[in-house]
């Protein structure tokens, strides 16, 4: 029935808007706590943050390396196919370097981190929520935003750009591998081409994107984890929702940042 569908679509829209609102509230609360906390005798939690940083890195590093290498190779092969028709195979290095740093490295890294670290954070906080551990924290007098959210958020804000730079490097090396092995280009020339094609803005723009993506993953995962109601099955739902919502928001933000940074 069309009206039933409309009602459901409307309910879904409201739910998504409400969740977005809660995400912003969490962002504001985290920002305020991060700035005002030190003045209230709640210094920044370095140790917890570094522990989270190591956790995110451990979870994602090898996966990011693998996917970045594959993407670099695929991109080189695909672009060679097109460029050969123009007799411009030597431009493969340029195309790979620019596409990877501006777009593919930050995007793929963020999607992988969302799947690995974002889901893990949502599951962790969701479990804490349904087993009353979050309530226990509050009764002890500890603020979950200060104690749990900020370390995770900051860790992601740092980890995603770092992983992206790493993916830049691996992706270009992957492209080089494909160029040398399949296209008969020389490694030296490929590297030189890549370096000359890149301007600082490419790398810098990619890092800006990565910071935004890291923030999105952290906020979505923490909000959804802490917002878990009910029992263990709800934790599973929160985890899935986190990954899907993160990816949607990451791609939407990608469009936005690309438009702002690169379109002249």
């Amino acid at each position: 029935m069309p009206t039933g569908l409309a009602v459901r679509a409307q309910a879904l829209l409201w739910e998504q808007l409400a969740e977005t609102g809660r995400m912003w509230r969490l962002a504001v609360a985290a920002g305020r706590q991060a700035v005002a906390g030190p003045f209230r005798g709640q210094p920044f939690r370095w140790r917890a943050t570094i522990a989270q940083l190591i956790r995110v890195g451990n979870q994602s590093l090898s996966l990011v390396a693998l996917i970045a290498a594959l993407i670099g190779i695929i991109l080189a092969l695909q672009s060679a196919y097109q460029l050969r028709q123009l007799g411009a195979t030597h431009l493969v290095a340029n195309l790979v370097a620019v596409s990877v740093t501006r777009e593919l490295a930050p995007l793929m890294t963020a999607i992988l981190v969302a799947g690995r670290a974002g889901s893990a954070i949502a599951a962790e906080l969701g479990t804490m929520k349904v087993s009353e551990e979050i309530d226990a924290l509050e009764v002890i007098g500890l603020d979950p935003v200060d104690f749990l959210v900020i370390p995770r958020l900051v860790a992601l804000l740092v980890a995603v750009p770092c992983l992206t730079l790493f993916a830049d490097l691996i992706g270009i090396l992957g492209g080089c591998l494909a160029g040398v092995a399949a296209l008969g280009l020389s490694a030296g020339a490929y590297t030189a081409d890549s370096l000359s094609a890149l301007v600082l803005e490419d790398i810098f723009g990619g890092v800006i994107k990565a910071i935004v993506f890291g923030g999105i993953i952290g906020l979505v995962a923490c909000q959804r984890g802490l917002g878990t109601r009910g029992g263990a099955d709800e934790v599973g739902r929160s985890t899935t929702t986190t990954v899907v919502r993160s990816i949607v928001l990451i791609i939407a933000a990608d469009l936005f940042v690309t438009a702002v940074l690169f379109v002249r």
Binding site: R40, T127, M128, E133, A136, E138, V139, I140
Partner: protein, 269 residues
């Protein structure tokens, strides 16, 4: 003679979830140093009341004051300070699963005391010994049995030597021997610390074992408060039904059954 400030004062507390009214005007006073048991059937709103008392849940109406301060008008900072003077043990323990037992107990000390690590270690060991969990420092909560989890949760609640201790269903879901042990533990803790005790339970045996006073919750409000003896003597039909149904399903119950089966031929009990 002026009465001393009560440890807890609750006035007109109301709380609904959606259209479901859980608390419909709770009035309750808990005196310093007493053990008050909040008794009521499952789903009667005991946990909700407890969550309102410690400020985890914001009621729709009414006021709660702990140690003389209204917790819903207090500044966040003031509330945080107040929370260091209370402790709560949750129904399922709510121990932090990512930490060891010792780290669980140490957390409040790390965050709110300036004690050096060696002193903290000693305090943790003493608190664990108090609840009979010596030697479990390095275990994870998942390695503890149900009763041990509750004991560890008691110990964590007492880490900062609070003035008021809240317990949600301390003996629910445990075998009778373990449950009785926990009841006795609660009383001895009260004697050691002189803290005010608020215990939520639906188990009559526990309630009568622990309580100085019992508040019976029914249909969202406090039906009656009184000492265990006053409750036993109370003739209010709802109180009687609650106490008789669970307390002693012995001869009296049998008599009623016989009456039902045999009709009026049965002799009156």
């Amino acid at each position: 003679m002026t009465a001393p400030t009560p440890a807890i004062e609750v006035r007109g507390l109301e709380k609904s979830y959606g259209r479901r009214r859980v608390l419909e005007g709770i009035d309750l006073t808990v005196h310093e140093g007493e053990a008050l048991v909040i008794l009521g059937g499952s789903g009667s709103g005991k946990s909700t009341l407890l969550r309102c008392l410690v400020g985890l849940e914001r009621p729709d109406a009414g006021a709660v004051s702990l140690l003389g301060r209204d917790i819903f008008t207090a500044a966040p900072r003031e509330l945080a300070d107040l929370r260091q003077r209370i402790g709560m043990a949750f129904q399922s323990g709510a121990l932090f699963g990512s930490m060891t037992v010792a780290e669980n107990l140490e957390l409040p000390l790390v965050e709110f005391s300036h004690l050096p690590e060696s002193t903290r270690r000693i305090i943790v060991r003493i608190k664990l010994a108090l609840v009979g969990l010596e030697g479990t420092e390095a275990l994870r909560p998942s390695q503890l049995s149900g009763g041990m989890k509750k004991r560890a949760a008691f110990a964590r609640a007492m880490a900062l030597d609070p003035e008021i201790l809240f317990f949600d269903e301390p003996s629910a879901g445990l075998d009778p021997v373990t449950a009785a042990g926990l009841d006795r533990l609660l009383l001895s803790l009260r004697d050691v610390f002189g803290a005010t005790l608020v215990v939520v339970t639906h188990e009559l045996n526990s309630a009568f074992a622990i309580a100085d006073r019992i508040a019976l919750i029914h249909a969202g409000s406090v039906l009656i408060t009184g000492t265990p003896d006053e409750l036993r003597a109370c003739q209010n039909p709802i109180v009687r039904r609650f106490l008789d149904r669970e307390a002693e399903p012995g001869p009296e119950h049998e008599g009623r059954l016989r009456e039902l089966i045999l009709g009026s031929e049965a002799p009156d009990g």
